[in-house]
């Protein structure tokens, strides 16, 4: 009875794989166009670098943790019928809260992460409230608050002398404290996410347990979405706000909640990245790309939380491969390839219909004819798309 759900997953997965394959072929053509003599070796780098050494693998994991969280943030909102384009602001505020926790309040890393979650949640809450109570489109609120968050964070950091690197023996004040500097370690040795020996194992400082935390969160989100009454309510609101209201579900509350949770997820992402001790938050005036990168991650996974794990790992993997295109190519080529993959996934409506047809035909053969064929394939494909 329940096998049609598996179908949907399988169909979405296959469609994504086809998009990826086509996107990569397109990428190879790009390499040929821009510098034919290095195209083959470049493409080889692109495809294999992520697995080429344990160090690179560590890098893949390191990058995928925040990507997974922002992807999850966008996916979660999508599932509940909202487009959270504000993941970057939530990510930024989450990063700030997390850093404030470990620096200003001298808290351990996990408290920092929780604070980061709170920061992101706060910034998700606002568009949620604006949408639910004032009917202001969440897209525009999120865009506005991306900038407000960025500026507010910069303003706050500049007014918290302890937060800046120069308070901890460094000479610069354009970034936050280096959590791994000896002076800071003496002050708060538990500020960074534990490495649990993984750094030794993979031989890279990039490695910590962040990616596992992110995967754990993804699994929890999947369970919440698919196994709990809360998830049932959220999805119902996403699919049909009116019907949810009719059924006695508090749609307004749910809109606020899902934006808040979505923000919280992005906030954890900011925490995971900056509490790794590797990167320092730099006072720049442009929105952080990590939040926007969550959108393709979510789209590639058809907004499935478990799928997001794989798509985050994939995007991270191919970005590591993209860095290895240097110096012959600009590493922005990788963005073009990812964009192409996303664009091609727009063809998935066609692809899914086609795959569904094939699948059903095979199934029919297997069940030895005679058995009634399940509904029209076109419908199945359609609902597959709608359900994303």
């Amino acid at each position: 009875m329940r096998n049609r759900r598996n179908h949907t997953g399988l169909i979405n997965g296959t469609a994504s794989l086809i998009s990826i394959a086509l996107g990569l072929i397109f990428g190879f053509l790009l390499l040929l166009v821009f510098n034919a003599s290095f195209a083959v070796s470049g493409f080889n780098n692109l495809m294999t670098t992520g697995f080429a050494s344990s160090e690179k693998l560590a890098k893949v994991f390191y990058q995928s943790a925040p990507l997974l969280m922002t992807g999850l943030s966008v996916a979660f909102a999508f599932k509940t019928g909202l487009f959270n384009i504000g993941a970057t602001g939530q990510y930024t505020l989450g990063a700030f809260f997390a850093l404030m926790g470990v620096v200003q309040f001298r808290l351990p890393w996990w408290m920092g992460l929780i604070l980061g979650m709170v920061g992101g949640a706060l910034l998700g809450l606002i568009p949620g409230v604006c949408k639910a109570l004032f009917n202001v489109n969440e897209v525009i609120t999120s865009i506005m608050f991306n900038w407000i968050a960025l500026f507010a964070v910069n303003l706050s950091i500049n007014n918290m002398p302890l937060m800046l690197a120069n308070a901890w023996g460094a000479i610069n004040k354009d970034r936050t404290a280096a959590l791994t500097s000896s002076k800071f370690m003496a002050y708060n040795p538990n500020a960074t996410i534990p490495k649990a020996g993984l750094d030794k194992l993979l031989g890279s400082n990039y490695m910590n347990i962040g990616v596992f935390i992110a995967i754990l969160v993804a699994v929890i989100i999947w369970i919440v979405m698919n196994r709990t009454t809360f998830g049932y309510e959220l999805k119902a609101c996403g699919y049909n706000r009116h019907a949810s209201n009719y059924a006695g579900i508090n749609a307004k509350r749910n809109i606020i909640l899902s934006m808040t949770i979505s923000g919280a997820l992005a906030g954890i992402g900011g925490g995971l990245y900056y509490l790794s001790g590797t990167a320092q938050y730099t006072l720049v005036k442009s929105l952080l790309g990590m939040g926007f990168n969550g959108i393709p991650v979510a789209l590639l996974a058809s907004s499935n939380p478990i799928g997001t794990i794989f798509s985050a790992l994939f995007v991270s993997y191919i970005q590591v491969g993209g860095d290895a295109l240097q110096p012959e190519y600009s590493r922005e080529i990788i963005d073009i390839i990812i964009a192409a993959i996303i664009y091609l996934s727009a063809f998935s409506l066609l692809m899914r219909g086609w795959i569904a047809k094939r699948l059903l035909r095979n199934q029919k053969d297997n069940t030895n004819m005679g058995d009634e064929a399940p509904a029209e394939p076109a419908n199945e494909a359609e609902s597959g798309v709608k359900a994303q």
Partner: protein, 513 residues
């Protein structure tokens, strides 16, 4: 010169998984009113859409005045002077009446819109045929009656002489229906040819010259209306004898189950109230019907009762409980069930499976939930049971995504869900809208059974026949007020029609429950 203005010969039109039109032939004579009859999903709208160029048939050909024509889009249809009033009106809400009429055939000068001539022509037509409209009113501000006149003017404006009416009477009062019939006769007299889709057999008997009956995509036959009667038509349509009357014993009302006092509901855009000082009471074991033309406050009344909107003032009781300020969930828990008028907007989460939809109102109860986790086994068990009990048909049973189900079965699912909640009060709005006679018969039986089970039923319907055959008591709503109360058994369509159109009303004292 052919005897027929339009011939649709051996038309076949397929949709994924279904043959909507299977080798259908339909011939329309000049100056005749030709009715098209068939149960839901028989393929009537599809056939007309083919004629109008909205769909391309897989096989068959269309002749106009004996010559084969190709109708690729509505422009082609228009060029052949074919016009259509669609089942669901195709009007742009934020446009004015005039803009809607000229849309697609605009006059321009140097690229700029010229509306002067168009306005004059619209006024002339409206004068000539008694189709009163305000050309500058926005569609969103006018009632369905006027909207339909706009649709008809759209055809006339295009000088169409082959007019297709797809279920035009579904939204009209008996009096308005009479007027429309008269207008159609006038058209026919002028030599225009009319194709007329309806489910109402008496309308066919009253106005049509010939009738073609479709069943399950096939053409069953074409008859002269003069040579046939209602029973024969019904049998042709469904393939069996139909019992039009609802069997039910007289009601034995008990204590009040739903009481409404001085309910007022406002309107965002106007100062006029949508529901104006409404009071009534529904007792246990009683079906109270609310009759009225669409847009006279029935929907708003229901939304206020069920908690979807907040009333301005007044009180609502379920039994002894004042629920005026309770949430929807609290009302449900107190035993209020609601079959909504718009099943796609309110009734179902179309992307959820049938099983998930069947627990939409009680997923949070102990039966389906433990510590916040859904109990899927319970859900499937419950769903299988309802599917069996209410004979809900679908491709994959419990796991069917409801979007892919037929309208009738979607409606059955909603009825099943609402009735199995064992409600004290059932509010059923348009419970059989767009369903075929078989499904209607079934749902009517369920509603009567609920009454006999001592439930209180408030039935709101635009179908006068339905209100009259089901209700023990009938309230008539006009412009937000209850203008009359009559006993179900003694009501006549004519009397109700007068109340519904505001031509007559009872003294307020009598209405007060």
């Amino acid at each position: 010169m052919s005897e027929y203005v339009i011939e649709m010969l051996n038309i076949t039109k397929k949709f994924p998984g279904i043959i909507a039109n299977d080798d259908i032939t339909l011939q329309l004579k000049k100056g005749e009113i030709h009715a098209l009859l068939g149960e839901n999903g028989a393929g009537k709208s599809t056939l007309m859409s083919v004629l109008f160029g909205l769909y391309q048939p897989e096989a068959g050909e269309i002749k106009k005045d004996g010559e084969i024509v190709k109708i690729n889009d509505p422009n082609d249809a228009n060029r052949l002077n074919i016009g259509m009033v669609h089942q669901h009106f195709k009007l742009v809400e934020i446009f004015s009446v005039l803009d809607n009429i000229i849309l697609g055939v605009e006059q321009t000068k140097n690229g700029f819109l010229q509306k002067k001539d168009a306005r004059r022509k619209v006024m002339e037509l409206s004068e000539k045929y008694g189709l009163q409209v305000d050309p500058d009113a926005l569609i969103e501000d006018i009632g369905v009656g006027m909207q339909q006149r706009v649709e008809i003017l759209k055809m006339l404006f295009r000088d169409n002489d082959i007019l297709i009416f797809d279920e035009p009477t579904a939204v009209l009062t008996p009096q308005e229906i009479d007027e429309l019939m008269q207008i159609m006769r006038n058209f026919a007299r002028e030599g225009k040819s009319i194709l007329f889709i309806t489910h109402k057999l008496n309308e066919i008997m009253a106005v049509a010259d010939r009738v073609t009956v479709l069943r399950k995509g096939k053409c069953i036959g074409t008859l002269d209306v003069a040579d046939t009667d209602v029973d024969q038509l019904a049998e042709m349509m469904v393939g069996r004898k139909v019992n039009f009357s609802v069997d039910k014993a007289p009601s034995k009302p008990g204590e009040p189950a739903l009481t409404v006092r001085n309910l007022m509901v406002g309107d965002k855009r106007h100062t006029k109230k949508k529901v104006n000082n409404v009071s009534f009471c529904v007792h246990k074991g009683e079906i109270v019907g609310i009759a009225g033309i669409d847009g006279n406050g029935q929907s708003e009344l229901v939304y206020a009762l069920t908690g979807l909107t907040k009333p301005e003032s007044g009180v609502v009781y379920i039994g002894e409980h004042d629920i005026t300020h309770n949430s929807i969930r609290e009302r449900n828990d107190l035993g209020l069930s609601h079959i909504p008028e718009d099943r796609h907007k309110y009734g179902l989460v179309l992307d959820y499976t049938l099983a998930e939809n069947l627990i939409l109102k009680n997923y949070y109860t102990e039966e389906f939930q433990r510590h916040g986790f859904l109990r899927f086994d319970e859900m499937y068990r419950y769903s299988e049971e309802l599917i069996r009990r209410f004979d809900i048909r679908s491709g994959q049973g419990s796991a069917t995504v409801t979007r892919s189900m037929s309208g009738g079965n979607q409606q059955k699912a909603i009825v099943a869900r609402e009735l199995s909640l064992q409600p004290e009060v059932l509010i059923a709005v348009q419970p059989t809208r767009g369903l075929d006679v078989g499904a209607i018969e079934y749902i009517h039986k369920q509603i009567v059974a609920a009454r006999d089970d001592r439930k209180a039923v408030l039935l709101v319907s635009l179908e006068l026949d339905e209100v009259m055959s089901l209700s023990d008591r009938i309230l008539v709503m006009y412009e937000g007020e209850i203008v009359a109360e009559v006993q179900g058994s003694s009501a006549t369509a004519h009397e109700l029609g007068l109340y519904m159109s505001g031509a007559n009303r009872q003294a307020p004292m009598e209405v007060e429950a």
